[in-house]
Amino acid sequence: MTSDTSRLGFYLLLAPILLWLVVLIILPHVGLFIVSISEKIGPREYETGFANYAAFFNEPLYWRTFARTAIMSILATALTLILGFPIAYYIAKLTRGRTKTTLFLMCMIPFWVSELVRTFGWMILLRETGVISNALQYLGLVNGPVEMLYNDAAIMVGLVYTSILFMVVPLVTTLDSLDDSLIEAGYDLGGTSTSIMREIVIPHAMPGIVSGCIVVFMLSLGNYLTPILLGGKDSLWFTGMIYTQFITRFNWELGSAFGFLLLALSSLVVFAGLKLSRQSLTETMGRA
């Protein structure tokens, strides 16, 4: 009797997440997959096959953009980590009480406005007639207007800015859980700042680093707005290609195939990252 009720309770509690998974994630993907394996042979005529996937591998433009997107996302993740770690360390270890809350809040404030507004903010700063260009001219550092928008560096800036919060939060959480006495013990035993960082802090923060990296990488890889608005005439991004296939080319079949390839790519990179850092997904998600 008790086991029956508890089982009912279990299924009731499970229902929302199952519903979420099936209705919002599994069903759309099944639909997407079915679209991706239908080849168009004429108006309103389709047959099943893998021609869309073949088109991806036969057209260098597609897989080059694909590789470019992956490499730039990994680079953006690394930069975010390098920038985010000192911030997180400062917040978690060197501040207390109200200062800590204030600093944490300051990291979050930019995320109260939408991504679009933040990206437009960067456009105002970086453009030829923008704030930075004018300031440099005013200070006499440059002679003419400088264009800083419409290139890969601008995309990188935008990506790092958009995702840094998602690196800082898990890092602060894991670093918070590191007992200060362990660091003190390290100094007592004659460790240098570098060796303590390497031997104590980073190993302890590893789950936070890995989960932050996973989130930031996913966000960058799937970002659409930032690369499209800040990127230049050569700056192709894979999500932009998916949009083009779906909306301007009316080619949902190829777009769906691209969507699946992007899913495979992100899973593969996350898997490789976990293997390289010798972390398991359960441990990372459990501790961060």
Binding site: I228, D234, R249
Partner: protein, 353 residues
């Protein structure tokens, strides 16, 4: 089965007849084509309510395709994109000409749109707003730009912008002395035109500051002076002309590209009565003039230009003399499959270094 279908149709018909007085018109249109003052007048006169969604050609088709022609009661794609979209996706229903007051339309435009939007003997489109794409130029800084290919001139290097879309391919082709519209039905001939244009646009790439996407983006670039010559819509040029007299729309020597935005009925639209009421309402000369004053483009309404403000008329006449009007290249209907060729060309231009 047949009986239940008939009876359910009868029930639906009875229900719709009851609601016929006041319906909600879900309008899928372009920015500026349904100004709030026009909506207020329409709602006061007919009792219908209007919900406006603004979009562009590709998104309109994509939205309707996603729902098999549902979700909207009236849409306004360009006339060259109707027949092929109908052939591929079947997202529209034919226009019931008996319910349209044809006297409100300029006859030549009505006839041209009807013939361009005919699929399997049925007419799918009515003309509404027309305009052109050509060059928007800051004449003080780039007065020498008078044709599409002049955008590749060294004198404007780094200060040029155009869209990476099909009008750019077609404009450049005309400027290079080719005739893409004549080759529409011959895939091989069209491909060889595309190849020539691809070489031209790839070579032109260093001149381009950025490829623009939205109307506001190109207006910002021109207003700030970061871009001095661009390929864009006539209205954009005239709006900028109001702020800065140096910037205006220039009809290119090779001919401006003329488009007509239409009324079409999505296949599963529910408020057909409201849709026909809206068409009749906005094609009245005084309402058409109100739309021209906000959208900046002229309409296919008879006498629709009478109430248009004098500044806009002056700008229009400044950009188009009679020869330029006669030289407008009107988009013929795009055959299905042509856009795949263009897409591949555009991708290669985008990827070229």
């Amino acid at each position: 089965m047949k009986f239940s279908l008939v009876s359910s149709v009868a029930v639906v018909a009875a229900l719709t007849a009851q609601m016929a007085q006041a319906e909600t018109l879900r309008l899928l249109t372009w920015g500026g084509y349904a100004p709030q003052e026009v909506i207020d007048l329409f709602e006061a006169e007919t009792g219908h309510t209007v919900e406006v969604t603004t979009s562009n050609n590709e998104e309109m088709i994509a939205k309707l395709r996603a729902t098999n022609g549902g979700g909207f009661d009236l849409a306004q794609p360009s006339q060259d994109r109707i027949a092929s979209a109908q052939e591929e996706f079947g997202i529209y229903k034919p226009i019931d000409m008996s319910r349209v007051n044809a006297d409100l339309f300029i006859p030549s435009m009505l006839a041209a749109t009807a013939s361009n939007s005919t699929y399997e003997g049925e007419v799918y489109g009515l003309p509404h707003v027309w305009g052109t794409s050509g060059l928007v130029v800051n004449t003080a800084m780039a007065g020498n730009v008078t044709d599409y290919t002049d955008l590749c001139d060294a004198s404007v290097a780094g200060q040029v912008s155009y869209r990476l879309k099909r009008p750019t391919l077609i404009g450049f082709a005309y400027s290079m002395g080719l005739d893409p519209f004549a080759a529409y039905d011959d895939a091989d001939a069209y491909q060889s035109i595309l190849d020539e244009v691809e070489a031209m646009l790839t070579g032109c790439k260093p001149n381009v500051k950025t490829y623009w996407d939205g109307g506001d983006e190109i207006k910002n670039l021109l207003r700030s002076g970061e871009v001095v010559a661009s390929m864009a819509w006539d209205t954009g040029g005239w709006q900028l002309n109001a702020d800065n007299p140096d910037i205006t729309f220039v009809a290119p020597e090779a001919g401006a590209l003329g488009w007509i935005d239409t009324f079409v009925m999505p296949a599963r639209g529910r408020a057909d009565d409201a849709a026909y009421d809206w068409i009749d309402f906005v094609m009245q000369p005084e309402i058409a003039a109100m739309i021209t004053n906000t959208a900046g483009n002229f309409t296919a309404a008879v006498d629709g230009d009478a109430g248009v403000n004098a500044d806009l008329k002056a700008r229009y006449q400044g950009s188009f003399d009679q020869a330029a009007i006669d030289n407008i290249k009107w988009y013929p209907p795009v055959p299905a499959g042509l856009e795949a060729l263009e897409g591949a060309t555009l991708d290669r231009i985008n990827a070229a270094n």
